[in-house]
């Protein structure tokens, strides 16, 4: 791999991250002179004197008593030490700890969803590409327009209605004691699987179809390449050509595109988590929104942006490993 390219990419990622942190710092400060007003908006039954006392306390507690520039530098310094701020929740928990608590639960949903989507999507897409124009391919063509127009949360509600309430296959709402009673025993893992089933089904339908669609297109594009013609012309059998020449090359871009969807893995399930009352990052964010918990909201945002940047960086570097051409032109555009 080209060393200069790697260094350039990493520096560029850091530069973008700096811009994102700056935005992240200033967004809650838009429109108010004093960020303390954002953190504790005035209540109806409070006199001015009382509110000023609370504002002063908030200002001291969250360090708003120095100039904005000093606040910004302190914020960057805290970030360097891995501190995303302190939540306004009772007991002032650290935002990092709250994220660390919820992250695994979101990952249970999204990683399983991604695994199922990619596996079945690739299998089906390859099958459809091999049998172009037959029923499997036609079904895929029609399914892709239908699933992109059907929001996942609508499917989730339907599944919750039928599989959850009517037929009682799976719990329609997540058991509230699921998180607190989890102890790695087989029985607990089974309970998690049962509760996660409906959200995962609702999420993965769209995913399977979209991965199948891109796999199909990729396989068809590759089977028109010159080297496939050559392989056919050499007299190799259809199976050999498909496995050795077509599939290997067709699945590469799909695998690398996984890196791009890393941020979706963590932040993409807000609505689904809300419907099933799943105890993940999405519900954490919505609770923060409902309680005006700005430090927590902005902390989650920064975390998600950082993960997205990291995912893009890794994808780019993997790309340059797999396809050396990209390092020559100064990056993939």
């Amino acid at each position: 791999m080209n060393k200069g390219y790697v260094i350039k990419r990493i520096l560029y990622t850091l530069f973008i991250f700096l811009i994102v942190t700056t935005l992240n710092f200033f967004i809650p400060r838009i429109g108010v002179d004093d960020p303390a007003e954002r953190y504790y908006p005035p209540q109806g039954n409070m006199s001015d004197v009382e509110y000023n006392i609370i504002k002063d306390l908030t200002r001291k507690q969250y360090g708003f008593d120095v100039s904005t520039w000093q606040q910004y530098l302190r914020y960057l310094n805290n970030l360097l030490h891995g501190d995303l701020g302190t939540s306004l929740q009772a007991g002032s928990p650290k935002v990092v700890d709250l994220i660390a608590d919820r992250l695994p639960w979101t990952l249970v949903l999204s990683v399983t969803n991604m695994f199922i989507s990619v596996l079945f999507g690739m299998l089906y897409g390859t099958y459809a590409a091999w049998h172009r124009g037959k029923w499997a391919d036609k079904l895929l063509m029609n399914a892709s327009t239908v699933t992109t127009a059907l929001p996942a949360f609508f499917l989730a509600l339907l599944f919750s209605l039928y599989m959850g309430f009517e037929w009682e296959w799976f719990p329609a709402y997540t058991d509230p004691s699921l998180v607190s009673s989890f102890d790695w025993s087989l029985e607990a893992i089974g309970r998690v699987a049962k509760n996660a089933a409906l959200p995962i089904i609702a999420m993965s339908i769209g995913g399977i179809v979209s991965y199948a669609q891109s796999t199909r297109n990729s396989v068809i594009a590759v089977s028109n390449e010159d080297y496939v013609v050559t392989a056919r012309a050499k007299g190799l059998g259809t199976k050999t050509v498909m496995y050795k020449h077509v599939l290997r090359n067709a699945l590469l871009p799909i695998v690398t595109s996984l890196g791009m969807s890393v941020s979706g893995l963590i932040g993409g399930a807000v609505v689904i988590e809300q419907i099933f009352n799943w105890n993940g990052m999405g519900t954490l964010f919505l609770t923060a929104n409902n309680t005006n918990d700005y430090p927590l909201m902005m902390g989650i945002m920064l975390f998600l942006s950082g993960v997205a940047l990291l995912g893009n960086l890794i994808t780019d570097l993997c790309y340059s490993l797999l396809d050396p051409r990209v390092t020559v032109g100064g990056g993939r555009r």
Partner: protein, 326 residues
């Protein structure tokens, strides 16, 4: 005006586009004449004592469980929000994307760097969470929601437009215009903009479809305008109002189908436009038909077809070059 009409005729002639146009037409009709079509006032939560009715002739989709609103009337009024937010956002996104993309591609230099850096930043920030934060900061009116969607929507289009403009910039007719002393602004408006207009029209249709889904999601989370009736909010009301518990599937399916039809119709129109504007896509469609009839020897046929297409392109290119030389 004439161009717009002929474009609609072209979409109408395209079999998939016709489906899209028909559905979109019905939805727009419903949205405009909602007060005339709807049998009841959907905002009326007090007049009827009949709550949680099943579908009947009086109430085609029943009434809501807690407030007794007529679901069919709500469904018709919901088309207004979805179409308004989708269309206005789609059009504004296309405008800003066009300006940014053309500036970045044609003017280049600092302008290009600046726009592309902004695009890079926007692509990294998670859209839904930031939208939630911004609606929290600036209020939940539809004006605000459209504004936020536009701020985040233009980036992808700007990238595509920029790439296309970079190609056009090196074309002979732009070079000729530059040599004959045309100003930058004139070239951008008269020569570059028409060259990317097909991308803009297509993007308006497709991004409107995407925005409709996003708007439904926001309203579902309770982040839309609380005073208006939208399909996303109807779904949220259904969930919190006990539709799941009592098995009132019509209360969930009705707004779901509303969302589906609006998104589906705009996607159909967008895809039809794509095929109308991009003849190579048509050729791919022809290939697809070919596979259907000849699946045993299709590979050879495809290669023959591809070769022919390539030769044709080369011939066209040669003709163009010859024309330019003359």
């Amino acid at each position: 005006m004439k161009g717009a009409l002929s474009l609609i005729v072209k979409i109408w002639k395209h079999p998939q586009g016709r489906v899209g146009l028909l559905i979109a037409g019905v939805l727009v009709f419903c949205a405009i004449f909602a007060p005339l079509i709807a049998p009841y006032d959907p905002y009326d939560v007090t007049a009827r004592a009949e709550k949680g009715l099943s579908p009947s002739w009086q109430h085609p989709l029943g009434t809501t469980i807690s407030t007794g609103q007529d679901i069919f009337s709500m469904l018709i009024y919901g088309a207004r929000v979805s179409l308004m937010v989708g269309l206005i956002t789609g059009i504004l996104t296309a405008l800003i994307g066009a300006v940014m993309g053309i500036c970045a591609g044609y003017v280049g230099g600092l302008c290009d760097t600046l726009v592309m850096r902004v695009v890079d930043v926007m692509l990294v920030i998670p859209t839904l969470p930031l939208t939630i934060v911004l609606t929290n900061l600036f209020g939940k009116s539809y004006f605000m929601i459209i504004f936020i969607f536009v701020i985040f929507g233009w980036t992808g289009l700007a990238r595509v437009i920029r790439a296309q403009v970079l190609v056009l910039k090196n074309s002979n007719y732009v070079k000729a215009a530059e040599l004959s002393g045309a100003g930058r602004w004139h070239i951008m408006m008269r020569h570059i903009l028409p060259g990317v207009s097909h991308l803009l029209i297509m993007n308006t249709a497709l991004s409107s479809a995407g925005i409709m889904v996003a708007e439904a999601g926001l309203s579902f989370l309770g982040l839309g305008d609380p005073t208006a009736i939208s399909w996303g909010k109807m779904l949220a009301d259904a969930q919190s109002g006990g539709a799941l518990l009592f098995g009132h599937w019509w209360w969930i399916v009705a707004p779901g189908i509303g969302i589906f039809l609006s998104v589906f119709s705009f996607m159909r129109i967008g895809l039809a436009l794509e095929e109308i504007f991009n003849p190579r896509m048509k050729r791919a469609g022809a290939m697809h038909r070919l596979f259907r009839t000849l699946n045993n020897t299709y590979i050879q046929k495809v290669f023959a077809e591809m070769d022919e297409a390539e030769r044709e392109e080369a011939r066209e290119a040669a003709k163009e070059k010859g024309g330019a030389a003359v």
